[in-house]
């Protein structure tokens, strides 16, 4: 069994109505190896994984050779292919907390695979499930229902469930999707431990740092094609394809560190803030000041209150104690916010142009006021005829910035404005923000979970999860 490669794919194509979604993919993975498929959304990487698994939607056509552990898996009819699910190949679904049965306890979901797929007695199956949970550090969680598990815990239960049938090849579809950034390393460790135990892994991701953690082989996908393939370490050190180079250049870890800005009279400053949400104290003793033309980064783990800090500065949230002082003479509407998910910041039913017109009318601006700003932000006017869900995330975030600039903001709270964007788009938006801050002498609070991104944007940062931090420089962290 070890002689045959865990997976061999040759000339795999997936098409919908004559349009290629995956073109001529060739992959090979040895037993116990790791293969990362990296690409941005829409590149076809998930379809490639589902074609391997045999779970493509019926309306998609596919052809090519897929061999798993020496079995010509692709040649089998769907029913025989299904007989190998769990036994030879397993899928770790996207967002596993939504894929576990909500009405069944965690341990039972693992045990039933041992019993019904592995043909063991229920007593043995339960013992095996308990042991698997123990190995994953979930010894006490077996009796819990999925809604009582955190995202990371559900992820670990799902891995145990997927591999309980004895599969030697695990396909992990975007395993970090929907998880906190700091869970990323945990997921990588979880997958690596499965590889050490002998499972071959295919990992679909868009996250370069995550891929780097996993190691092994990597295939980079762009527009339905694999454009570059090789060992991860070598490929990241010396990319050959132009797209891979751009992708790596967009990684904030490689950005030049930002220079400090000369201090001026702050637009907004807060001293000795303490904030609670839902009865839980998020932080206390926190002080921060944002000056014109300056970016201040607020970093920290998720749930530590970064967003709450921004909302306090905007006046959307009242602090438990502490003082917030805004520069005198600035109207309330000159304190503005950019959202993590720009789609949710626009009325979904109206075209984007209507949203800009509304703001012009509300503030007595001429209706052609947006045109200069749109040109500056390189937004094509045709975009304004579309609704928010009909433009890409990067374009929409730029329209959101244009809407904010209409009211001549003094302070802008940018709440993880690029965390849902692909890396290259993230870089474009961040460059634009940096330019706008400098041109308009805008004071900006940038919330991000990504320390490298913060360092690339500004030299001044507050760590929100350090409860008694009074602000400092990134170098001190």
């Amino acid at each position: 069994m070890n002689a045959a490669p865990a997976l061999e794919v040759e000339g795999l194509c997936v098409a919908a109505g004559g349009r290629d979604l995956v073109r001529n993919a060739c992959l090979s993975l040895r037993a116990g190896g790791i293969l990362v498929i990296l690409g941005e959304s829409g590149s076809g990487k998930s379809l490639l994984a589902h074609a391997v698994m045999g779970t493509l939607p019926a309306e998609l056509d596919w052809r090519g050779r897929i061999a798993i552990g020496g079995i010509d898996f692709g040649a089998l009819d769907p029913k025989s292919r299904r007989a190998h699910w769990g036994r030879a190949i397993a899928l770790l679904p996207q967002e596993p907390w939504a894929s576990l049965d909500p009405l069944m306890r965690a341990e039972d979901q693992i045990a039933e695979v041992h019993a019904l797929v592995g043909r063991r007695t229920w007593r043995e199956a339960r013992a095996l499930a308990g042991r698997a949970l123990g190995t994953l550090g979930l010894g006490s969680a077996g009796g819990r229902y999925p809604f009582q598990l955190s995202g990371g815990m559900a992820q670990r239960v799902a891995v145990a469930v997927a591999l309980a049938g004895g599969a030697r090849l695990l396909v992990a579809d975007e395993p970090t999707k929907g998880l906190d950034a700091e869970c990323r390393d945990e997921v990588a460790e979880l997958l690596l431990s499965q590889a050490r135990a002998g499972a071959a892994l295919i990992v679909i991701t868009h996250d370069i740092a995550f891929a780097r953690k996993l190691g092994g082989e990597m295939a980079v996908m762009l527009d339905a094609e694999i454009v570059e393939q090789g060992a991860i370490a070598g490929l990241l050190a010396a990319p050959r394809h132009a797209y891979t180079k751009r992708l790596l250049a967009a990684d904030p870890a490689g950005w030049a560190p930002a220079k400090p800005v000369a201090a001026a009279n702050p637009v907004v400053e807060a001293a000795n803030l303490a904030v609670e949400r839902g009865g839980r104290r998020l932080f206390e003793g926190l002080s921060v000041a944002v000056c014109p033309g300056e970016i201040v980064a607020a970093t920290g783990c998720s749930g530590c209150g970064k967003t709450s800090l921004g909302n306090v500065l905007l006046g959307l949230l009242a602090p438990q104690s502490g003082i917030v002082r805004r520069v005198s003479g600035a109207d309330a509407h000159r304190f503005q916010k950019l959202y993590q998910d720009p789609v949710s910041a626009f009325a979904s039913g109206s075209p984007l142009g209507v949203a800009l017109d509304d703001v012009c009318r509300r503030h007595g601006l001429p209706l052609d006021a947006p045109s200069r700003i749109l040109a500056r932000l390189r937004i094509h006017p045709d975009l304004l005829l579309r609704r928010p869900d009909q433009v890409s995330g990067g374009e929409l975030q730029r329209v959101a910035l244009a809407r904010v600039l209409l009211v001549d903001p003094a302070f802008l709270f940018a709440d993880e404005p690029t965390s849902r964007l692909d890396p290259i788009i993230q870089q474009e938006v961040m460059d634009l923000l940096r330019e706008v801050v400098a041109e308009r002498r805008l004071a900006m609070l940038l919330v991000t979970h990504d320390a490298a991104l913060a360092a690339g944007m500004t030299a001044k940062a507050v760590r929100v999860d350090a409860r008694l931090d009074a602000g400092g420089t990134l170098a001190a962290l």
Binding site: W85, G86, A90, E95, D101, M104, L116, Y145, V161, G165
Partner: protein, 314 residues
Amino acid sequence: MGGVGRALADRLLQALFVALLVGVLCFFLAEALPGDQAFRIAAARYGEDMVSGIAADAVRAELGLDRPAWLRLADWLLNIARIDLGVSLVSGESVFEELVHQLGSTIGLSLAALALSALVGPPLGVFFALRAGKLPDAIGTAAAAALRALPSFAVGIALMLVFASWLAVVPAAGYDQPQSWLLPTTTLALGLAATSSIVSRQATLAVLQSSQIAFARTKGLGEFDVVRRHAVRNAAAPVVAYLGVQLVYLVEGVVVVESLFAWPGIGHALVHAVIARDIPMLQGTALAMGLLFVLLNAAVDFACRAIDPRVRHA
């Protein structure tokens, strides 16, 4: 667990609302009726021709009908709290006694209809879902939609004409033979089954397309085990929850079907009390129906908790 107490408290509050709503409305009804209340009550007690001004005055003094309205309302509600429901203005019997007689036939009819619809509706819904888009599904769904659009009295008339008059296989009305149960039960159950089959079909379809079922398949379970261990329970949760909504139809249907088939239950008595403006009887029957509704709702609450741990731990 605190959740049980909370659910019980909610239902107790609902029961309180029922009592208040029915009591206050009936009090105002008594106030609004033309003529002297004391005369009416005296007439109900002693017979129409025995009423005199003296008897009416005696009643007025005894019941305190000359006191301010808010005091009389408080008294009225206090009587309800003491389960003193008074005497029927039509029969002269104690309302409570009459309700005790009628309760059995109403509960029997409701449970028989619920059981019959539960045997027919959800299994059909699952069957349609498993054949979604094919002919049996199309015919079944269309039939269910048509049935749902027919008010229960129209269904009842149709059944009555076909089975009692033209085929003459069952009695059209009454309560005395076992066959008498057939038409009222079927009338009620058909409407309930139509809705529950539609809901079960949707719930099953949604579950079969869910990521939980996809994962149950890819982890290696056969389709039979997938349906048996995961699909059925997950589809049952919304169907049972929907039962709570259906109870409104059940209670309304009971009133109509009992009237149509002269079924000696509370619903029938309620309609008669409205026509005769027999206020104590109206109040008693409306209270009994309302409280039965609350009780059935509480039963559905507990069924939901038994099936879905998310409700249990919410």
